[in-house]
C-alpha cells in the first residue's frame, strides 16, 4: 500500500512584488493564502470522511459498549462483554472468514499474476482491450454476478457434471471442500465466488506495478546469464512486489468482510462473519453485539495487515 506523503505546507518563494510600496498587507495576505492552499485541497475529502467515516465510527464505538434492548433503549454502560461474547460465540465465523478470504486471495494471485504479466509484457495492441475485459464485470451489479455463479454451479449443471466426470469432486469432497455430487452450498463455491468477485482488485495493481518495470531490466538480467526463470525470480517478481502487496490487501480485506457470496453460494455451514453481523443488525437487532463484532473484525484485519506489511518489508520495495 502506498504511504500517504505528509503534506508539508512549505512557504513558496515570495512572488515578484508588483504592489506599490507600502502595500505590504496585500503581499502578506497573498502569501498567507498560498500557505493555506494544501488545506483547502484537503477540505472536501476531509469533510466527507468526517461526516461519513469518523462520525459513524464513533457512534458505532459507543454502540458497542451500550446495553439495553430495543424496547427500553440503549445506554452506554461501558459493557465490554459484547466483545468477549462475540468472540466466543462467533469465533468460528471469524476463522472461516479469514480462511475463505485468504484462499480467495491466493487463488486471485495465482490466476491474476500470469494474466497481469501477459497484459503488461506480451499483449501488444491487445493490452487496452484486455484491461477493459478485466474490469468489464463491474458493469454488472455485484449481486447479479454472484447470482450468475449460482446458476453456473447449479446441481446437475455442466460444471458440476464435468467436475464429477473428471473425478475432481471425489478429491474435493474428500478434502471437505465440496459435496460428492454438488458444489453449490459448499466452501468451494464460496471461495470461487470470492475469487471471481475480487479478481480485478488483484489484477489491476499487479498490472500497474508490472507495467512500470523497464523491459531493459529483463534484457540486462538475460545479458548477465540469468535464464528466463531466474530473471523472473530475481528481477521481475521482486519488482512487482508493491503490486502483489496492494493486490492482496485489496482482495483480502473486502473478502474477509463479505457476506453476499456466503449467503448466495453457501449454506449455513459456510456463514462468514459478515453474515453473522448482518444477522445481529437486521434480524436479532442486537446493535451492541453487532457493533462489537464489526470492531473486532476491523481490529483483526488491521493486526493481520500490519504483520503482513512488516513481513513483506515495504521499505525494500521501490
Amino acid at each position: 500500500m502506498t504511504a500517504v506523503a505528509p503534506v508539508t505546507p512549505s512557504a513558496p518563494p515570495p512572488p515578484p512584488s508588483n504592489t506599490l510600496p507600502g502595500d505590504g498587507e496585500g503581499v502578506r495576505g497573498r502569501r498567507a493564502r498560498r500557505r493555506l492552499t494544501p488545506y483547502w485541497l484537503l477540505l472536501p475529502a476531509g469533510l466527507w470522511l468526517a461526516v461519513f467515516f469518523v462520525a459513524p465510527l464513533v457512534y458505532q464505538a459507543s454502540t458497542s459498549v451500550q446495553s439495553g434492548s430495543l424496547e427500553e433503549g440503549f445506554r452506554v454502560t461501558w459493557q465490554f462483554s459484547h466483545y468477549t461474547d462475540a468472540l466466543s460465540t462467533y469465533g468460528e465465523h471469524f476463522l472461516r472468514s479469514f480462511a475463505y478470504a485468504a484462499s480467495a486471495t491466493v487463488l486471485c494471485l495465482v490466476i491474476g499474476y500470469p494474466l497481469a504479466y501477459m497484459i503488461a509484457f506480451r499483449a501488444g495492441r491487445w493490452r487496452n482491450l484486455l484491461l477493459v475485459m478485466v474490469i468489464a464485470p463491474f458493469f454488472t451489479s455485484f449481486l447479479i454476478r454472484t447470482l450468475a455463479w449460482k446458476t453456473i454451479l447449479s446441481d446437475g449443471g455442466p460444471v458440476v457434471g464435468a467436475l464429477s466426470a473428471l473425478h475432481v469432486l471425489d478429491v474435493t469432497s474428500w478434502l471437505g471442500l465440496t459435496g460428492s455430487e454438488r458444489v453449490l452450498a459448499t466452501p468451494l463455491a464460496v471461495v470461487c465466488g470470492l475469487t471471481y468477485n475480487f479478481l480485478p482488485f488483484m489484477i489491476l495493481p499487479l498490472y500497474s506495478s508490472l507495467e512500470r518495470i523497464d523491459t531493459a531490466l529483463h534484457e540486462a538480467a538475460r545479458d548477465l546469464y540469468a535464464k528466463p526463470v531466474t530473471t523472473f525470480r530475481k528481477v521481475t517478481f521482486p519488482l512487482s512486489l508493491p503490486g502483489v502487496v496492494a493486490g492482496t490487501l485489496l482482495t483480502f480485506i473486502p473478502a474477509s468482510g463479505d457476506y453476499i457470496n456466503a449467503q448466495l453460494l453457501g449454506s449455513p455451514n459456510e456463514q462468514m462473519v459478515g453474515n453473522a453481523i448482518q444477522k445481529q443488525f437486521l434480524n436479532v437487532l442486537d446493535y451492541p453485539t453487532a457493533a462489537a463484532m464489526s470492531f473486532l473484525l476491523m481490529a483483526l484485519i488491521l493486526i493481520m495487515v500490519s504483520v503482513y506489511m512488516r513481513k513483506a518489508g515495504t521499505e525494500e520495495l521501490v
Binding site: R222, A226, K227, K234, V235
Partner: protein, 463 residues
C-alpha cells in the same frame, strides 16, 4: 575475441533496420558504431548481444557461431543505455548479479576489485536511485566487466551524462579498455565521442555501413557526403572534372581519359562559361593513348557538355601523356584530378586517391569537399603572397564570428554560396570583416572529391 558478422540483417515487419552487413571487429579493439538514430547501430549491437535475432546471416565470436545462442549463454556483456540497473538491489548485488548466476559463491573480493577499478568502492551498499548519473554509469560498467566478457557492448553509455562528465568518462572508458584489454563495441550518435575513444569507427546510415576505418581516416578522407557532414563539418560544392591524370582507377575505360588531339574550343553547351583547361599540367608518365573522342562516346553522346570537356581536355594535352595504363598497383602516387568550379578562374587540384567518386572521367561531375579548418583566408590585397600550387577560390566575406579558440568566417564564392572557414585565433587580420574580398586557399592534398549523385546535405540534419 574477434567478432565476425557476415551477411547479418534484421527486418521488423516491412522495415529493414539493418541491411545485410559484413563486419569484422578485431580482437582487443575499441570499435565504434556511429550514426544518427534509426541507422541500425543499436540493432546491430543487440544482435551481437543476442537480444535480437538476425533475420539472416551469422555472427561468429572467434571461431564459434553464436547466432542462435540465447543472451544468457553468450560470453558477451552489455552496458545498457540508461544503464538498466536493478533498482531493488544495491550496488554490490547489482555488480555481483552475473557472478551469482554462474554459481560463484564468494563474490565479495571480485566485487571490491571491480568497484575499485571504476572508483566506486565506498558506495557498495547504496541503491541505484541514490546514485548520480555518472555513478550509475560506473556501476553499469562494473556489472558488465566483472564477468570478464570476451566482448563488452556499450549502447550509448554516456548519452545521459552532461557534457563535462561525458568528457571525463570518455577518457576513463578508454583507460579501462586499455587496462582490461577486452574488445569494446561502442554504439553512439556522438561523432566526437566515437573519435575520442574508438580506434576503428563504422559510420552507419540507413541500415548500412557507410564507411569504416580509423577516426582520422574517416575525417580526412570521407567517402560519402554523409560521412563528410556527420563527422565534423565539410564544405561541399559541385565541380566538373576537367582533367584526370594517372591513378589507380585504371582499366579499360580509364585509358581513355583526357588525352588526344582534340581541337574543340569552348563548350558546346551554353552555360556561357569560358573555356578552360589551359592550366592543365602534364606530369604523368607513360604513353597516353586515350582519345578525346572516346570520352565523348563513352558518355551520353547526347550531352554536349561531355564533348566540350573532352575537347577541352584534348586541347590541353598535346604534350600531356597519360599514365592510365600503368598497371602497377601503386599507380595512385602522383595521380591527380583537376576540376573546375562554376565561375572559378583557376582549376582545383586534388590527388586522385582522394577521389571517392565513381565517375572520374573528364566532364563528369563531382562534389569537391574541404574541411573549414584546412582553408586559409587572405585578403585580396595579399593575393600575390599566396604560395604557388595551392587551390584557390575567391569570394566575399558575408559573416565573421569570434569563437574564442578560432574565428569562423562565412564566405560567398561562386562555387558555394556559404563556404565556412575556421581560422585559428593567433594573428587576426583585422581587415577580414564582412564585405571584404578574400582569397581562400588550401593544399590540394586537403581536398577530397565525392560522387556527385548524392544528397549534398546528407548527415547535416542528423546532428
Amino acid at each position: 575475441m574477434t567478432i565476425t558478422l557476415s551477411g547479418v540483417s534484421k527486418t521488423f515487419g516491412d522495415f529493414t533496420a539493418v541491411h545485410p552487413l559484413d563486419l569484422t571487429i578485431p580482437e582487443g579493439s575499441f570499435f565504434a558504431l556511429l550514426g544518427a538514430s534509426g541507422c541500425g547501430k543499436t540493432t546491430t549491437l543487440r544482435m551481437i548481444a543476442g537480444l535480437e535475432e538476425p533475420t539472416s546471416g551469422s555472427i561468429l565470436l572467434g571461431e564459434e557461431d553464436i547466432t542462435r545462442l540465447p543472451p544468457h549463454e553468450r560470453p558477451v556483456n552489455t552496458v545498457f543505455q540508461n544503464y538498466a540497473l536493478f533498482p531493488h538491489l544495491d550496488v554490490k548485488e547489482n555488480v555481483a548479479f552475473g557472478l551469482r548466476r554462474r554459481g560463484v559463491k564468494s563474490v565479495s573480493k571480485q566485487v571490491a576489485e571491480i568497484l575499485d577499478l571504476v572508483q566506486l568502492g565506498e558506495l557498495s551498499r547504496r541503491k541505484p536511485l541514490q546514485l548520480s548519473g555518472g555513478q550509475q554509469q560506473r556501476v553499469a560498467l562494473a556489472r558488465a566487466l566483472i564477468n570478464r566478457p570476451r566482448v563488452l557492448l556499450l549502447d550509448e553509455p554516456l548519452g545521459a551524462l552532461d557534457l563535462k562528465l561525458r568528457r571525463q568518462m570518455q577518457l576513463e572508458l578508454k583507460r579501462i579498455q586499455v587496462e582490461v584489454g577486452i574488445t569494446f563495441v561502442h554504439v553512439t550518435h556522438d561523432q566526437e565521442e566515437a573519435m575520442t575513444m574508438a580506434d576503428r569507427v563504422a559510420v552507419m546510415y540507413g541500415g548500412k555501413v557507410e564507411q569504416l576505418g580509423p577516426p582520422a581516416e574517416l575525417y580526412e578522407h570521407p567517402r560519402s557526403t554523409f560521412v563528410a557532414n556527420f563527422l565534423g563539418t565539410s564544405n561541399l560544392f559541385e565541380a566538373e572534372i576537367v582533367f584526370r591524370e594517372a591513378g589507380r582507377r585504371e582499366g579499360a575505360s580509364g585509358a581513355g581519359a583526357g588525352n588526344g588531339e582534340g581541337t574543340g574550343s569552348g563548350r558546346a553547351k551554353g552555360s556561357g562559361e569560358g573555356t578552360v583547361v589551359a592550366g592543365a599540367k602534364g606530369t604523368g608518365k607513360g604513353k597516353g593513348v586515350g582519345e578525346a573522342k572516346g570520352i565523348a562516346e563513352g558518355k551520353d553522346v547526347g550531352e554536349g557538355e561531355a564533348e566540350a570537356s573532352a575537347a577541352a581536355a584534348g586541347r590541353a594535352s598535346g604534350e600531356v601523356s597519360h599514365a592510365g595504363q600503368d598497371s602497377s598497383s601503386g599507380a595512385s602516387v602522383g595521380g591527380e584530378l583537376q576540376v573546375k568550379v562554376p565561375g572559378g578562374d583557376d582549376l582545383l587540384r586534388l590527388p586522385l586517391d582522394r577521389c571517392a567518386a565513381g565517375e572520374t572521367e573528364a566532364g563528369g561531375k563531382v562534389l569537391i569537399g574541404v574541411r573549414p579548418e584546412k582553408i586559409t583566408l587572405a585578403h585580396t590585397d595579399d593575393a600575390g603572397s599566396v604560395p604557388e600550387g595551392r587551390n584557390r577560390l575567391t569570394g566575399r566575406i558575408t559573416d565573421a564570428s569570434y569563437l574564442g579558440v578560432s574565428l569562423q568566417y562565412v564566405v560567398e564564392t561562386s562555387a558555394c554560396p556559404e563556404l565556412t572557414v575556421y581560422e585559428q585565433n593567433i594573428e587576426r587580420d583585422t581587415r577580414l570583416v564582412p564585405g571584404e574580398q578574400v582569397v581562400l586557399h588550401w593544399r590540394p592534398a586537403h581536398t577530397f572529391a565525392l560522387d556527385a549523385a548524392q544528397d549534398v546535405a546528407a548527415g547535416e540534419e542528423a546532428l
